[in-house]
Symmetry: C2
Subunit: 307 residues, 2 copies
């Protein structure tokens, strides 16, 4: 049984108030794979062009990422995105998008991926996400979907079709509001869970994340950081930590999802410390355990109540 | 030994996107007293005019609020504020402010308040807050100060003088940034703790609150609410719950402050459910215990880590 990840592998060029990157490795699928492979083997579905570095593919393979589902289109170019973050590091402008290989991406699930127990659909065209679900002969134990406001604006119906097939949706607070038409996140969550997913995670950036299921809610903080250097990929890394923990423990209870959110938050807090995936390449299992312990300290309290 | 509270007792008129109140009872001191008196007796320092209802004073007395420090200026009028909240319920416009009795308020600490062990300085002119500290013959075990951006804009030096005499400051995130000149809340906290207070609470409204002390930090969530009906007094109520718990337990350790923040957050979550102090007048000790339990559930998780 295995974890299958679907998502873009790309080049990014990033500008922040603190600096500017070269054209570096990016993409939702890349961040998820670098992160989740700390916890469990990963089977990756994606597409890259002939310009994508073999060295990057080799490094992922060495980490336990099975690339049998990654199409390499030698004659084409890899997806490219460039953006500039504003001073608050929460909002950004897209400077350039070159879809390239993503334009006509038709994912193919290899036979060796049919043992998929946990499926992580990174942010991508909703129909592409759905195609992967439909190709799987046995329904995974848990299907997690990430998406973004862009798809809500140009293909809401497509997005809702995919949404109806997944168990858990991850979006940020403004996306939850856009998708539901509700300002209150509690009401937004109730509305979204009627669209299909039984679980919903609302990410609030520096303000943490909420997990909803039926009438239960769990809140996980974000670590207060001195500096956010580059927020690119933080959401994907969160997803990678979440699904990585779930796949490692093979436990999809609400209780274990709480822990998975803490793991995801800890990983995301590392991601933003340097440009791109750089920090994710450096950290050890000990670093991860230490950071998770910081989260435990951050929220840990004893209640000695009103007498 | 006792808890002394300093703060305005006032009339408010409030408009929100959901409704409009008559001229109702308000003021930082009022909210703090209604809230803290759930946990411990309160000795109140304030000033009201001849138009302030005796019934309100009687109700406070019945709850264990000692009004020996409340001046009643029969010939003058009570402080009046009216404001209108925007759709997001976080920002508001002041429509009218009539200082009235607050204009020349000179607080007098009664002899019977000299046993003050815990001092809560509600948001007020910094010099008035300082005058109370200076009148106390024995320094309290803990002095907590609330303030607001208004004083930073018109009398920052005065504010800093008072700040240098207190143990714990409570402000919201934008006030912390304004006071310190730092955008990162971690850096803002470090800068503010150099101005005097050894402890700092940064309130982030619907995003919870952070407690800083030396190199330690604790994060408390806010309860995700379906509806915020009227945010007026939420910060004062938080302060009342915090200091009420501290005064009841007589324990100023960092660990106990964490619990006090949860208590404050629980009380504030009740406050916003109805106009003004209405909800605070209704809730029972059982309601409070139930709400605090919801907070425990909200953040409670077990860590089963990377093997």
């Amino acid at each position: 049984m295995s974890l299958v990840v679907v998502g873009s592998m790309a080049f990014d060029a990033i500008e922040t108030p603190f600096g500017k990157s070269d054209k570096i490795i990016g993409g939702a699928g890349t961040y998820i794979a670098w992160c989740a492979s700390n916890f469990t083997p990963v089977k990756q579905i994606s597409v890259v062009g002939g310009d994508f570095p073999q060295e990057e593919l080799d490094q992922l393979t060495a980490r336990g990422v099975d690339l049998a589902g990654v199409q390499i289109k030698k004659e084409e170019k890899t997806f490219f995105w460039s953006g500039r973050y504003h001073m608050d590091m929460n909002s950004r402008d897209t400077l350039e998008t070159q879809l390239n290989v993503l334009e006509n991406f038709e994912p193919v699930v290899p036979e060796s991926f049919q043992d998929c127990e946990f499926l992580m659909l990174g942010n991508l065209v909703p129909a592409v996400q759905r195609s992967v679900i439909e190709q799987l002969k046995t329904r995974p134990k848990l299907i997690v979907m990430d998406t973004m406001n862009f798809w809500m604006e140009i293909m809401m119906d497509e997005l809702k079709k995919t949404l109806g097939m997944v168990d858990l949706l991850m979006v940020n607070d403004s996306e939850a509001r856009q998708l539901s038409g509700e300002y209150s996140l509690v009401k937004a969550a109730a509305a979204i869970m009627k669209m299909g997913p039984k679980y919903l995670i609302i990410k609030k950036g520096e303000h943490g994340a909420l997990l909803f299921h039926e009438n239960k809610v769990f809140f996980a903080p974000a670590l207060p950081l001195e500096e956010v250097f580059d927020p690119t990929g933080a959401g994907d890394t969160f997803a990678g930590g979440f699904i990585g923990h779930i796949a490692r423990t093979k436990d999809i209870s609400f209780e274990n999802m709480k822990t998975a959110i803490i793991v995801g938050s800890a990983m995301a807090s590392y991601c933003v410390e340097k440009f791109g995936t750089q920090r994710l390449r450096e950290i050890s299992k000990e670093d991860i355990a230490n950071r998770i312990d910081e989260f435990v300290q951050l929220v840990n309290f004893d209640i000695d109540l009103v007498g």
